[in-house]
Amino acid sequence: MRTHSILVVDDELLIRDLLYDFFRGQGWEIAVAENGEKALEILRSRQIDLVLSDIKMPQMDGLALTTEMRESYPDIPVVLMTGYPSVDSAVTALRCQVVDYITKPFNIHKLYKVIESKVKEKEG
């Protein structure tokens, strides 16, 4: 079975480290970026099955990254996470066709189930 790959985008180093260790432990390939611009650089250079991105980040936030990805990488599912949830950002996320919107703090095992199911759905 092919190894799945995930790109985690978050400006918080602690969150990036936590998710890096967790997904490595599950046998996934994982790339990390601290903002949307760095994430796009990574997407240009390697195959990614799913992007898990924070919304509020400096330079390019998660909603701007998702909007850009809908143009350039429409087949890669995006899950957004945020510590500052709001109706407005959830509506914007829906319009950007993200596959889920997760509020922080999250249960990492529930998050993993969501991500695993979305990658499997994509594989058909």
Partner: protein, 147 residues
Amino acid sequence: MADREPEVRRKLADFFEMIGYQADAVANDQDVLSKAAAHDYAVALVDCRLSGDSGLDVLAELSASYPETSVIMLSAEPTLEIVIAALRKGAFDFVVKPFDLTELTEIVHKAADQHELLKMYRAMSAQMRQDRDAGSQRGAGLTKATG
């Protein structure tokens, strides 16, 4: 157009008829589902509070049974939970009431375009599958004939 407010559903249905759509207006979830079973709708406008909170159940049913229909959810009192539920159940868009009719019209046009694209994609995928199956059957026949 599914809304429990008679005036809202009638005015919207009349408006979309006027700009060239064929529109039906219904008041409850059972009527949405029976209409959807009988027609190939490009777009469904569904209020979240159709009967109780059943608008989200209608969305889930439409997404599962008629994935090519783009469903736009409407709500006068959106909460984070309702919007996230709509996102997870596959809504095409979420519009907060009171809405700007010009903006809603643009969203409906986009939703109708999405419906056409999905139909085309599914037809092309089906054709490609048929061609592939026919090709492998021909290959099997050739192996049998020559083997």
